[in-house]
Amino acid sequence: MSYLRLRRLWKPSPLKRRYEVVIIGGGIHGLATAYYLARHHGIRDVAVLESQYIGFGGSGRNTAIVRANQRTVENVRLYEEGLKLWRVLTDELDYNLMFFNCGVLGLGHSEASVSAFRMLCNTHNFLGVKSELLDPQQCAEMIPGLDISDRLAFPVQAGLYHPPGGVVRHDAVVWGLAKGASAHGVHIHQGCEVQGIDTEGGRVTGVRTTLGPIGCKRLGIMAGGYGGAVAAMLGMELPIHPLTIQAMVTHPLKPFLHHVFSSGAYHVYANQTLKGEIATGAHMDPQVNYTNDATAYYLKHQAEALTELIPALRGVRFMRIWAGLADMTPDMAPIMEGNLGYDGLFLDAGWGYFGFKSGPVAGKYMAEYMATDERPAMLRAFQLKRFLENRYSGETAAAMKYGHWD
């Protein structure tokens, strides 16, 4: 029975001195790009370099929520395609990514947020992405124990329900993509930290790593929270602020929370994992930094927020807290670029805390970009030059502040 035969998911491979394509970052974005390069474009001479182990960064530290209820057209379209890929990838990779299509409910606690929800709902439905505006009673029916009374500091005034969203097992995505990429001949090198990027005559020629120099024709910077730092090796200063963002889980419980819910006013989002834990994420720490340090503040903050919204959660305990990096751009939209400053240099960065849900779809289009040198139409909205032209994407309504003013 082949089911009982355990095989390595990805093959250990010898480190070659040259590859056609080198990708910095063994997270979802890097692995997905490698996978699609090999699978869709026949470019199999690809190495994925990961300084720690695959999935060490944001790929393994997020709360695994996937959705497409963004604010702007270009983002809705991108994430909608991303949502459809989970099922396709599960089949292609023959690896259960455990997409739990439970729907995502946002809670609004002010007249302003109700207006904002109406705008989102109208946008999604116009674009054919399911979305529904709910009243507080309907919210309480979806989230058992949700307090919709006036006792809350900010009583629930409306909900925005997004049925196509849900939760995916984040580690499975990393491992599944590694499995798929490796099966198509991609080399995955863990514990290989990039320390410098070599260029010659306006072309990228390779990288210097802790395992020695590696030559390449094309280089993809897909290093998640560290994207800005890697680009800085070439003297590029990207409008990216790395911020710590934290998440935590409670002890496991039998299922009672059947949807993802989030509340902007309370800075909390939560869902019950397949294992039964309530996984909850918080707002970002305000200081720009590269640490993965958790803080006591967020443990307390999340408890305050969750118990106010669902008082029964007073009965559970937090079991584990962790932190990851969010590479924030000022408009909360990513930067996806090709031949940026140097021929052969590709950049996929600035995903902030949207990096998980976008992984496969970003990889798909970055692979196309890298293989053809032509910017796919889907990526037109995510160019770096929008910051130079002061044309922000409208992904957030208000201008964001990270660390310091502007």
């Binding site: 989102l120 599944g176 496991p252 419980l253 408890a303 559970v316």
Partner: protein, 1045 residues
């Protein structure tokens, strides 16, 4: 707290009959008070425990052996650890799920239920699942259930139902009672109240430092508290108890018992919680303790021995068996086999024998290093002993009936009949705190444990966790740590003092371990003495690198992680699939991800992986997996603490309440949003348009800025030429950010040569000072900026009759000539209250905004209400103001602006002083670059085309719907299958007789007279469309005559 004084039941120990067949006379170390029975029930069966029992010890004393069923295989699980290291005794206590029976003190009337079982844990319906273990290799669920994909939801629901342990009733009230929170500042925080921690506390306190000791148990003394072995002529428990008395009597030591530490975070923030005893005013108290130094003396715990069926009820760690007997006076079993890897385990075997447990055999996996005195005692007690042997298999079904032991060289097995297997592989330090303070940990090949290789300068380690076992060494190491902490504080303090008087002096040049120059000679001498004393005493004892029993085969039933049913075989399987490092295997196989976290599993997993690496010639040193806080799980109720909703009320809150205001939270404020149940606020709006209304606008930001550079600062942050501000006139202007987006608007009044008064929007009141300071940070300007938002209330009197009302309360001339539009005056109202009065027109009518000292607000409100009574003046709320200003085309930041638009896009470019480059106005470069840029979004006004709408479904019941139908805020504007903009605010105006609105649209749709298609679809078939025409965004009184009236 008599229950926790050792020896409380000495009488019972002196021959009187134990209270139940499972109780032992254990004498002086007992913490259970047999004179105070407590009844409780387990699964509805009445049982009796005693004061001082934990739920687990009481259940065990009542003969309960199966406490729960395991997560994956539903195997019966019993008491394995005794301090919550694993989840085998997580139970529902009084309906609260996942409570740890091992650490929860018994209270009268408790109701206890087992978890993850169908029915009685003895006869669990899912008990058969374990038989299919072979079909569930590590990570099996990733390879199952998705083919065909249509079956996945079914499989997924099955997984969900089987996963999880406790049951939470979302409609129940959990953990009522007071939750306190306290914040401390200390010089030394000691984590662990064992003898080392206590000695450290005393050493530091004797030098005048403030010390706080966190101890998780209800008493202090660490593992000495239950040991009867003598040291220097005294039993260890007595020595510990005397030390505890000294610590408790020391004035500047705060002792927190029942207080586990949840983490030590950045800058030495020690967090933990105290479980309240009978005398405490709280159920639980959350602590945050900022400490200058931390002494970590967290002690050790058993490291599990991995062998087949090591999870059977009846298999327990030495610490558990020993403490069950010694602390709780409960017999762990009748006949025992002991398989250990350290001297404490041997001592437990000897002690258990003395307490009446028949120990059949003692095996020790170590080759050498045994304490000869203990071996002699075993010999005297005629207990067979073998070294280099270990348990390989526990026999029995729902309870242990026997045990096989093997020699490490491959001889065996020897089989024994027994009802108790006491097993460990050795001891492991509780490294949690060290990991959270970011000590660099390395694997020590002498103690076979993780030890700090590098410690932060302000963290000191002491006690048995460093590998020390000799009681004298342990206390001396504590003393040394306390002295070093004192020296650190001393040195840091002196350096700070020096900086304060301007003589910065590099601190700690002498290095962290040396007391340095600022250390008083007496302290230096004490440190030297303690160092040499410690050096002269026995050092860390050798540990063992063994983690599994001999002869366990594939280890299919040898559990590495009891919480998630992770077996030795699963570790091998994980490695086979490529997860060949502890951190990867942990994620893949779920080792150490259950409630016990890394605590039980961490070191063993790393040791197993390292040993595998040895086989294939790879890295061989066990690498620690990441330790994540909280180190002990705190409840959300306790973390949340008492209610925190700190919100501000305006000085006029009560007045408005009396008038029937409906309040809403807006930022930090509670504000009157409506004065009737009518969401359209028709009466309030018409009252202002036709008569006069009164609005409490107190949250408006109010500031004074003065000093020689006040004007420079204003010029920097405001976009207009602020030199034009002059006395007696309000100057309206705005602040932008560096991208030219509108951040704030308000009026500025010049009040004196270098003094200005200005207002900001309510939302910006809190950030304005920082905004000014940030944008002038390099200039060294001399100005003072004071936020007087809370000092002054604000009342806005608006409407055609506003002047007539005002005239009744003041003798000052408020006529249009004396006090024109945009004027500002100081007027006296009533019995001599001087107020600032600003003639503004946000709502589009003649209006006077009175800025009144907060303490006079109620008085002035009363004056105005009385004066307005003859006119029928009504108070109005925020929503009415929102409609009134929208009719006038006045924007609200965030409602009619967003990050895609800059000042010039929203029709406010006229404010910008384009010629000024010298002031370096914030946002001016961006405006300059983008003001003429094509293709931007623009703010437009629109008028909905009469009769153009069609709608389906019950749109009016949706949140935020407009009374009377029509598109609402947030409707989108569409063209050619694209979304090209959206409606910011739209209302039907009673005054105008038509529906107006403001929208942000792409430039190509923004021309006057252009048509807009407005689209709404709120789901569930609620849809509407209509058309509108772009008009100037000044719908009401476009020439502003009413403002100037």
């Amino acid at each position: 707290m008599t229950a926790h004084r050792p020896g409380a039941v000495a009488a019972a120990a002196d021959g009187s009959r134990p209270a139940s067949p499972h109780r032992l006379p254990c004498g002086s170390t007992c913490r259970v008070d047999l004179s105070r029975p407590l009844s409780f029930d387990f699964l509805g069966r009445p049982m009796t425990g005693f004061a001082g029992d934990t739920v687990a010890s009481a259940l065990y004393a009542n003969g309960v052996r199966i406490f729960s069923r395991s997560l994956k295989y539903h195997r019966p699980r019993g008491l394995y650890s005794i301090e919550g290291e694993s989840a085998t005794t997580y139970m529902a206590i009084d309906g609260v799920p996942n409570e740890c029976a091992e650490t929860t003190e018994l209270r009268a009337g408790m109701s206890v239920r087992a978890q993850n079982v169908r029915g009685d844990p003895k006869t669990d319906r899912f008990g058969f699942i374990g038989a299919f273990e072979r079909l569930m290799p590590a990570g099996f669920y990733y390879r199952l259930g998705h083919r065909p994909y249509s079956l996945w939801p079914l499989f997924q629901n099955g997984l969900r139902r089987m996963a999880g342990t406790g049951v939470l009733d979302p409609r129940r009230e959990y953990r009522p009672g007071v939750r306190a929170e306290r914040y401390l500042n200390v010089d030394v925080a000691v984590v662990g109240g064992g003898t080392a921690g206590m000695e450290a506390a005393l050493a530091a306190a004797e030098r005048g430092l403030r010390v706080c000791v966190f101890e998780r148990r209800p008493w202090m003394g660490g593992h000495h508290a239950w040991r009867v072995r003598e040291f220097e002529g005294k039993p260890l428990w007595q020595r510990a108890s005397e030390l505890e008395a000294r610590v408790r009597a020391t004035e500047n030591v705060r002792v927190l018992t029942r207080s586990p530490v949840t983490g030590v975070w950045g800058e030495n923030l020690v967090t933990g919680f105290t479980v309240g005893g009978d005398d405490d005013p709280f159920r639980e108290c959350h602590w945050e303790c900022r400490a200058r130094t931390v002494v970590v003396a967290a002690g050790c715990m058993d490291r599990p021995l991995v062998f087949n069926h090591n999870d059977r009820p009846g298999v327990m760690q030495p610490g558990a068996a020993w403490r069950l007997a010694r602390t709780y006076g409960v017999s762990p079993g009748k006949v025992a086999v002991v398989s250990v890897g350290d001297d404490l385990g041997l001592e437990a075997a000897v002690d258990l024998t003395r307490l009446g447990v028949e120990v059949r055999a003692v095996v020790d996996s170590r080759r050498r290093g045994h304490d000869p005195a203990l071996l002699e005692e075993l010999y005297d007690l005629r207990i067979p002993f073998r070294s280099r042997w270990s348990a390989s298999r526990a026999k029995g079904g729902k309870h242990v009936t026997g045990c096989d032991v093997w020699g490490m060289s491959g001889i065996g097995p020897n089989s024994y009949t027994c009802d108790l297997v006491v097993a460990n592989a050795g001891a492991q330090p509780r490294i949690g705190v060290l990991a959270t303070v970011k000590a660099k940990l390395g694997y020590c090949r002498h103690t076979h444990s993780y030890q700090p290789v590098e410690l932060p300068d302000d963290v000191f380690v002491a006690g048995s966790m460093t590998g020390l076992r000799d009681p004298g060494s342990i206390t001396e190491s504590g003393r040394l740590a306390g002295l070093r902490a004192a020296a650190f504080c001393r040195r840091q303090g002196t350096a700070l003092d020096a900086r304060r008087i301007g003589r910065a002096e590099p601190a700690g040049e002498a290095g962290p371990s040396s007391p340095g120059d600022n250390c008083p000679p007496a302290l230096s001498a004490a440190i030297e003495k303690a160092t040499s004393t410690l050096a002269s005493r026995p050092g860390p004892v050798a540990g063992t690198g063994i983690f599994r029993g001999q002869g366990i085969g594939r280890g299919a039933k040898a559990f590495v992680d009891l919480d998630e049913d992770g077996t030795y075989k699963n570790v091998v399987e994980s490695a086979a699939q490529g997860f060949d490092a502890p951190e990867l295997a942990k994620r893949f196989g779920g080792f150490g991800l259950g409630p016990g976290q890394y605590r039980v599993t961490g070191q063993n997993l790393a040791m197993i992986m390292a040993a595998m690496g040895l086989d294939s010639g790879k890295a061989t040193v066990p690498a620690p997996t990441t330790v994540r806080p909280p180190l002990v799980p705190p409840s959300l109720a306790t973390l949340a603490g008492p209610p925190h909703d700190v919100h501000k009320r305006t000085p006029l809150h009560d007045e408005q309440t009396a008038r029937g205001a409906i309040f809403r939270r807006m930022g930090p404020w509670e504000r009157a949003r409506y004065f009737s149940e009518d969401p359209s606020c028709r009466d309030e709006i018409l009252g202002v348009r036709r008569n006069v209304g009164l609005l409490d606008s107190s949250p408006l930001g109010k500031f004074r800025i003065f000093g020689p550079d006040a004007l420079n600062a204003l010029q920097r942050v405001y976009i207009s030429d602020m030199r034009k501000a002059r006395p007696g006139r309000c100057m309206y202007s705005a602040m932008c950010n560096d991208m030219g987006q509108l951040m704030d608007d308000g009026v500025v009044v010049k009040e004196s040569e270098n003094g200005y008064y200005f207002t900001t929007s309510s939302a910006r009141a809190g950030t304005t000072v920082e905004w000014f300071r940030y944008h002038t940070r390099y200039d060294g300007w001399d100005y003072h900026l004071v936020n007087i938002t809370d000092v002054l209330g604000s009342l806005n009197l608006a409407g055609p009759n506003a002047r007539r009302v005002l005239e009744r309360v003041t003798r000052d001339d408020v006529s249009n000539d004396a006090f024109p539009y945009m004027g500002v005056r100081r007027i006296t109202v009533g019995d001599g209250v001087e107020v600032r009065c600003l003639r503004l027109g946000f709502v589009g009518e003649l209006s006077f905004e009175l800025h009144v000292p907060s303490s006079y607000c109620q008085y002035v409100w009363g004056l105005l209400v009385d004066a307005g009574a003859d006119f029928g003046m009504q108070p109005i709320g925020l929503e009415a103001q929102n409609c009134l200003r929208a009719e006038k085309g006045h924007i609200i930041i965030g409602a009619e602006s967003e990050q895609r638009v800059i000042l010039t896009d929203i029709g406010m470019g006229w404010m910008w002083d384009r010629r000024d480059t010298a002031s370096k106005k914030v946002g001016a470069p961006a405006l300059r670059a983008c003001a003429e840029q094509p293709g931007r979004m623009k703010l437009v006004g629109f008028r909905v085309d009469e009769g153009s709408g069609s709608h389906r479904g019950d749109l009016e019941a949706a949140p935020g719907a407009q009374p009377g139908g029509g598109p609402g805020d947030g409707a989108v504007i569409v063209a050619d299958g694209e979304v090209v903009g959206y409606v910011c605010t739209t209302r039907r105006s009673e005054t105008l007789g038509w529906r107006y609105g403001m929208a942000l649209v792409r430039e190509e749709h923004a021309a006057r007279g252009a048509g807009l298609n407005i689209y709404e679809n709120l789901g569930s078939g609620r849809k509407s469309t209509c058309s509108a025409t772009v008009v100037a965004p000044h719908f009401y009184d476009p020439r502003g005559e009413r403002l100037r009236a």
